[in-house]
Symmetry: C2
């Protein structure tokens, strides 16, 4: 008897699976709060951390943590203007990890993230800057 069923955890995981925007803990909290008025933000953080430890979810590092229901490694795009994070269809090249090894390093994985302007923000910039 170790891990119990929890309606909150289920809903948090479901909410994460239903979106592709790599939400923060706050975003998930905001989405669930209307339907679960007694939900606590701490519960969201606690369960996301637990899900990440269990390997059901990936945590993306950054000034504020974002979460991804896709656990197989893949590449991300991050808009430097609005902060949105999305997936890219660039294949994950696991062989890079071997290239990075050496000097006694143990390489487990890597993260590849592109930065720039998302379509929406690229348009905005065009109109505003003239």
């Amino acid at each position: 008897m170790q891990q119990r069923f929890s309606y909150q955890r289920e809903q948090i995981y479901a909410a994460l699976q239903q979106t592709t925007e790599h939400p923060t803990a706050e975003m998930i909290y905001a989405r669930l709060k209307p339907e679960m008025p007694r939900l606590s933000l701490g519960t969201v953080y606690r369960n996301l951390r637990q899900l990440a430890q269990d390997g059901q979810v990936t945590e993306l590092s950054g000034p504020v943590a974002r979460f991804d229901p896709v656990t197989r490694p893949h590449t991300h795009f991050c808009c430097t203007r609005c902060g949105a994070v999305s997936d890219l269809d660039i294949p994950y090249d696991g062989s890079l990890d071997q290239i990075a090894a050496g000097d006694g390093r143990h390489v487990r994985q890597h993260s590849l993230t592109f930065y720039g302007l998302c379509p929406a923000c690229a348009n905005e910039n065009k109109s505003n800057s003239k």
Copy 2:
């Protein structure tokens, strides 16, 4: 008349250039404090941010920000045990940015970071786990 000379900013930049450990703001503060007893942590943060905006310094994203005096893009290795960050000699492939473009995205750059155990921590683990 816009940007003035500042002894503090010079020292902060110099301290960053003299190391390869990608220090945090706190680490730079700790290094300079003995020689500059009146230095304020806020000043370190403020100047690092400014240097980053001016493109003299790169800010590495993570739960706590680290700084790099090398501004040309290159790859990093981050030890998941001790948190140390170091440089890797894997060449930066700028052509990836073109591959990542599409759907109206404007890709400016990318970041490639490897995760695993640094040599020291890999050894530690070996001895401790038996």
